[in-house]
């Protein structure tokens, strides 16, 4: 009798454990069922092509027929390709200027808009709209405004007796022209920063003021730490956008209205040309994978450094 008791006593938790396990399995099954569209998509449209890119990067492949393994030859060729270096430099230049500049301007505008001021909705709308203008349309407008001979910008500059540059047609000014075009459309991060600023608790400012903090100190020691996670989030996302810079340059160069020589020959444009014009899929796969590696390194550095400058409220990390 005593043995029956003990056995049933151990059986109960075992049964409960079994029930809990099967419940857990059921939960996993239901969860996976709901996210299965994405899981399938991830496998087919991300994981497969990601590894296939890595594989093709070691091959000589025209996109048709068979791919021949050639080891690291594509990568060696890349480092001896001056056009590759030029395109890498141009993209680096664009990213290194555009990313910090757009972050600072977007943040500055968000701070301006966050002030208690009449007509805030009007200003916000005006600053935001350029970011939804179709990219090709914004290229058209900028090429026209910055037209060297008939554009309104150089006409204004000549009124001020400043000789206007050739903008999109000038080797030294074409990259800054693209950066200006990019800055015009920074509405998206601006609105994100504005939402973050409005989420900073008001009483923190009151406490800071009571302790004698001026506007600059409040910005430096309250506002910026509080929204630093959002800044990190935005910078990391914008990084991918910057290194993949393509559309604007392709539109303007393919229509022969700017981008002289290789001055605005960006990385992804070179990749695109190698693949779809010269049918060197192996070579451009190597470029694709190299782009991923560079992006991953910069992102990792950003995330690692974030523990120094990103403040997580209610977190002791």
């Amino acid at each position: 009798m005593s043995s029956a008791l003990t056995s049933s006593a151990t059986a109960v938790p075992q049964m409960a454990l079994k029930a809990a396990r099967s419940a857990q399995r059921r939960q996993i099954r239901t969860g996976l069922l709901f996210v299965s569209p994405w899981v399938l998509g991830f496998l087919a449209f991300f994981l497969y092509p990601f590894f296939a890119t890595l594989y093709y990067s070691f091959t000589d492949y025209s996109g048709l027929g068979a791919a021949h393994l050639i080891g690291f030859a594509n990568y060696w060729a890349l480092f001896h390709d001056s056009l590759f270096r030029t395109s890498l430099f141009n993209t680096f230049y664009y990213t290194a200027v555009e990313l910090p500049l757009s972050t600072i301007v977007a943040l500055g505008l968000a701070l301006l808009l966050n002030m208690k001021i009449k007509g805030m909705a009007f200003y916000r709308t005006i600053f935001y709209i350029p970011s939804i203008v179709p990219i090709v349309a914004s290229c058209m407008v900028f090429v026209w405004i910055f037209n060297p001979t008939n554009g309104v910008m150089n006409s204004l500059l000549s009124n001020l007796h400043v000789p206007g540059p050739d903008w999109f047609f000038s080797v030294s000014w074409s990259k800054p022209s693209f950066i200006l075009l990019g800055l015009w459309g920074l509405g998206q991060p601006m609105v994100i920063y504005l939402a973050a600023l409005q989420g900073v608790p008001k009483d923190m400012y009151e406490v800071a003021s009571l302790e004698g903090a001026g506007p600059w100190h409040r910005l430096r020691h309250v506002t910026l730490p509080m929204i630093s996670p959002i800044i990190l989030f935005n910078v990391v996302l914008q990084l991918v956008v910057c290194v993949s810079y393509f559309t604007q340059a392709q539109v303007i160069e393919s229509q022969d209205v700017g981008g002289p020589g290789t001055s605005t020959w960006f990385y992804v444009q070179y990749l695109y040309t190698q693949a779809f014009q010269f049918l060197k899929f192996g070579y451009s796969s190597a470029m694709g994978f190299f782009l991923f590696v560079i992006t991953a390194i910069i992102t990792t550095v950003l995330l690692k450094s974030s523990s120094r400058w990103v403040y997580y409220a209610g977190d002791d990390r």
Binding site: Q27, T30, G31, F34, V35, P37, W38, G41, F42, A44, F45, P49, A52, T53, Y56, G108, L112, M115, I117, G119, Y123, T125, F127, I129, P134, V136, A137, M140, V143, W144, I145, N147, N150, V152, S155, L156, Q188, V191, A195, A196, Y205, E206, S209, P215, R218, L237, V240, V243, T247, Q250, S254, Q255, V257, V268, F281, S285, G288, F292, T295, Y312
Partner: protein
Amino acid sequence: MITAPQVLPPRTSPQPSETWARRRWAPQKLLTSASKHAVLLIFTVVFGFPLLWMVLSSLKSNPQALQSPVVWWPHPFLWDNYPNVINAVPFYRFVLNTLLYAAITIVGVCLSSSLVAYGFARLRWRGRDALFFVMLCTLLVPFFATLLPLFILYRKFHMVGWYLPLEIPTFFGSSVFSTFLLRQFFMTIPEALSDAARVDGANEFYIYSRIILPLAKPAMATVVLFQFIYCWNDYIGPLIFINNENWYPLSIGLSFVLGTYSTNWPWVMAAAAAATAPIVILFFFTQRTFMGGISIQGTGTKG
């Protein structure tokens, strides 16, 4: 440049100095307010001018547009530029192609992203957070790092030349942004609603389709809106996969207008304005949906 709102030091009781302080502060407040508006107005000109110049240029005659010094105001208003450039290219065809592309991907995104978001937001299961993290990480990989094998694959299935390569992935949760946005929204719906339904014996799909989705209409509206604008703007996708002129979307059609008529700027500007107007009008009618959607992106993204 940045002036934070002035905060008066708190006073325990109204004293004679209070009125003095108010008198001293009032003009200063007016001054700071004026300087704020001045800075904001400068930026208003910077951001607004290109669009204004686009519209003004589109109403000029070509000699007027090229005149030096610059003619600021078109005289007379040459509205004919619009029908002329629209009839010079298959504009409506381009618009129709774009609308079709947008419509199909909107269906795909709404179906798949809402399902996936439900799985990530409303269900508790082991491995959920890890998978969600993987999904976010895919955002950090450049599109061109995975494009080429997909192109080769689609060509094997004879899909290059159609919009299918751009449409199919949207049915498989390819729009991470939409999934993320819907997840954030779903998480704000009280858990008690789901629990009550579960007690009544409802299964998860029922809760998803009959309880959560009807409540998520505003978030779904945002997703539809952003997907529409994405398609209206998309240039890279069609450039790679569409090779037949009859199937070009508006973005590629516009780029040819720029190349073909780059000596006739009023026409180019009229085409640009015609492509921009629908988006701007749409924005004015749905501003709240818009701004709400972007703000969601910036919340709950810690860690």
